[in-house]
Amino acid sequence: MSGSQETRLKVAFTGKGGSGKSSIAGTFARLLARTDQPVLALDSDPLPGMPYALGIPVEDEPTPDDVVVEGPAGGHRWVLRPGLDAASFIDRYATICPDGVRYLQFGNLWGHISSLQRAQYAWSQVVRELDPDAWNLVGDLPGGTRQAMFGWAKYADTVLIVVEPTVKSMHVGRRLRNLADADWAPEHLAVVANKIADPDDVRRIEERVGLPVIGVVPADPAVLTADRAAGAPLDVAGGPFVESLHALVDSVQASYAGTR
């Protein structure tokens, strides 16, 4: 479906902290972009993760406070200033990444979350109002269940829970399965099994989480090498991790082709 205009992927990655969401989401975004698709990476984690996987520097304050003005009574507290809409915001403030991915974040914290409030409102409005036919969306949520359960992945019709074969990670995955009952339940909810060294781990994860596994990502020392070198896995090495991400892109694209 290279270059096709009819279907845009709207995918968000969630899971326990340390499960590998950011590495997978960033690599997924870049590989999808290599199929001639316009890709917007959406980062709602107030601490840096996705930039490393995309292969760009960390930027703490990507948007100035004056992108928003006070909103109308009874509406959102902050809204994009006159003359700035979702498309022009992306054009101006979404970082250009390798492979042509555009990266939209609200910034990274050195203190209380209130310091990012205006940027968060701007980010949320852009995500609500962007042209859904213009972009494939690939989102990375912070570790844990909070943001996902509060609807931060509403933009996604596919939510992928990244789970590693540890009891804690599977436990969080099981909780995130409750997204299926939320008002903003995604059309597709599935698991990406990460750091797999033993094929039996995939069965354990599937049974414990209770959702289908759409992708299997092997344990790959190249990812650790990339982590230590602050490089994107895609830039540091090929190998099993990258191969499995190619397969994941294909699987997700096929799921859209088959059902939508």
């Binding site: 990274n108 914290l109 050195w110 209380h112 009891v167 982590d227 230590r228 070198a229 602050a230």
Partner: protein, 120 residues
């Protein structure tokens, strides 16, 4: 009574604690630039909010190079080194306490020394 709290990943909970809530803050960091970046943010918040002594626990340290890198990143802190240890991976995988898997493994021993540091 000793109270040990395991905070949520990141710095959110730390920013919501009242000033001077604890006697010591243990910041756990791995030898990756991303983890070092986030640990630096946690230390800044803990210092600003006067959350007791800050101890940097360097986790998953595989070799001398890892140790050097972490020490260079936190020159004002002496590091408590917790070596990379398959016992921790096994415990995580099986949902067990590392102490029950192997009470004298390198990582468990290092964590025991952390307790000693905290109690002095």
């Amino acid at each position: 009574m000793v109270i040990v709290a395991d905070l949520e990943a990141g710095i959110g909970t730390l920013t919501r604690l009242e000033d001077e809530s604890v006697d010591a803050t243990v910041v756990v960091v791995e030898p990756t630039p991303r983890s070092i970046d986030i640990a630096a943010r946690a230390i800044a918040v803990a210092d600003e909010r006067k959350q007791g002594r800050v101890i940097v626990a360097a986790n998953k340290v595989a070799d001398a190079d890892d140790e050097r890198r972490l020490q260079a990143a936190f020159p004002d802190h002496s590091l408590l080194i917790v070596p990379a240890d398959p016992v921790i991976d096994r415990a995580d995988r099986d949902g067990l306490s590392p102490v029950d898997v192997d009470p004298i493994s390198p990582a468990v021993s290092a964590i025991e020394s952390l307790a000693e540091v905290l109690l002095t």
